[in-house]
Amino acid sequence: MTKIVDTAAEAVANIDDGSTVLIGGFGNAGQPMELIEALLDGGATNLTVVNNNAGQADEGLALLIKERRVDKIICSFPRQSDSWHFDEAYRAGEIELELVPQGNLAERLRAAGAGIGGFFTPTGYGTMLAEGKETREINGRNYVLEYPIHGDVAILKAFKADEKGNLIYRKTARNFSPMMATAAKQTIVQVEEILPTGSLDPENIVTPSIYTDVMVAIETESTALAAREQGAK
């Protein structure tokens, strides 16, 4: 059953120190800024974070890193023009980095949610990111064994939900969230709007309610953008 709470603070209240937290988003698109802020305020620390990036500028994940709440980050693209908080923590030796090719990151999350014990992928074969990993030649092609990434908790942003917890996303803000929703013991989602059950077309559900544990309605810029788009049509 999906629990609906009133505030971001309540939504993230039971995230413990030392948790592995899967954070949705690619850059700022789909990043659950309000849940991250609440996590920051709540004080949870010694976290392992899984995200495509390692924070942009002075908001969201970047602030968790700035405040040294993150011991380890698993991501594909930490270094960016505005990743100064990560850069500083990394150069000071105060954050551990596991660098994962983006497609492997997505597939390792998917595997975790799908009960797959590991998979052979051609991505990274022969590179330093595959050093020490088991490889196998299958039908003349070389593959690397990769293992799933499980989360204790996922914090995600979706566009709309129904009261049952079915989710739809908006444009490229979908990115990693559907896999992360399946890969964590507890999935916490901020959505623009929670609609009465039955309001969403069952054919269009992206994340079925079985994966959603906690939801909070928080209106962000996405609502205004969607309204603008609707007006333009």
């Binding site: 700022n28 495509n52 994962v100 090719p101 497609g103 597939e107 991505t123 022969g126 788009e229």
Partner: protein
């Protein structure tokens, strides 16, 4: 093809665009390859893939079109074209890894004669590594093209018998487009020179231990 002068980035982008079959599904890497999209006219009906989860990506968004939920792999706001589709990143990379994309055009620091690609890391000890989708793109598409300058700023040739930088993918590049020429690579390491721009075949051969085959007259 022979030209007297090296070609600029836009001319090279136009040449690459001309080599992409109409109706193709294409991923253009960040940087120089992005310029190719300027020359993919509507009648070519090329569908652009962006690995953060979209087919049918349109041009960069203008001021009043900017939508934070609609960005490309370089995190630049873009637009959608009619017939666009969104999907999550496991699907997006399955599309790539599964060999469904026709062409991927990537930038490179170095390429070897057998198609090994180095484009993500200089290997310097103090560099903060970031790979993104580079390794997935390198091995994913049916054809992987590289677009780069033939020389570094220090004048070192970037098409080499073997790469010295950390690899992105092994034997994955089929063709290299540069300001000085176009090269078809092969498993054997023989490189077929399709075009030269402001450079003679003899000069090229004198600069490299690669075995080149002159096909500029074809």
């Amino acid at each position: 093809m022979l030209r007297d002068e090296p070609v600029d980035r836009n001319t090279l982008a136009e040449i690459v665009a001309g080599d992409i079959e109409p109706g193709s599904f294409v991923n253009l890497g960040i940087g120089q390859p992005t310029l190719v999209s300027n020359y993919l006219t509507a009648e070519r009906d090329v569908t652009l893939h962006t690995e953060n989860g979209m087919l049918g990506m349109g041009r960069a968004a203008k001021e009043d079109e900017v939508d934070g939920d609609l960005i490309n792999a370089g995190k630049i706001p873009v637009t959608e074209t009619p017939g666009a589709a969104y999907f999550h990143q496991a699907d997006s990379f399955a599309m790539m890894r599964g060999g469904h994309l026709d062409v991927c055009v990537l930038g490179a620091m170095q390429v070897s004669a057998t198609g090994d690609l180095a484009n993500w890391h200089t290997g310097e000890p103090d560099a903060i590594p970031a790979v993104g989708g580079a390794m997935d793109l390198a091995i994913g598409a049916k054809k992987v093209y590289v677009m780069m300058n033939l020389y570094t700023r220090d004048g070192e040739i970037k098409l080499l018998p073997e790469t010295t930088y950390p690899l992105t993918g092994v034997g994955c590049v089929s063709r290299v487009y540069t300001d000085h020429g176009i090269f078809d690579l092969s498993e054997s390491g023989t490189v077929t020179v399709k075009a030269l721009f402001g450079m003679t075949f003899d000069k090229l051969q004198s600069e490299s231990e690669i075995e080149f085959v002159d096909a500029t007259g074809n």
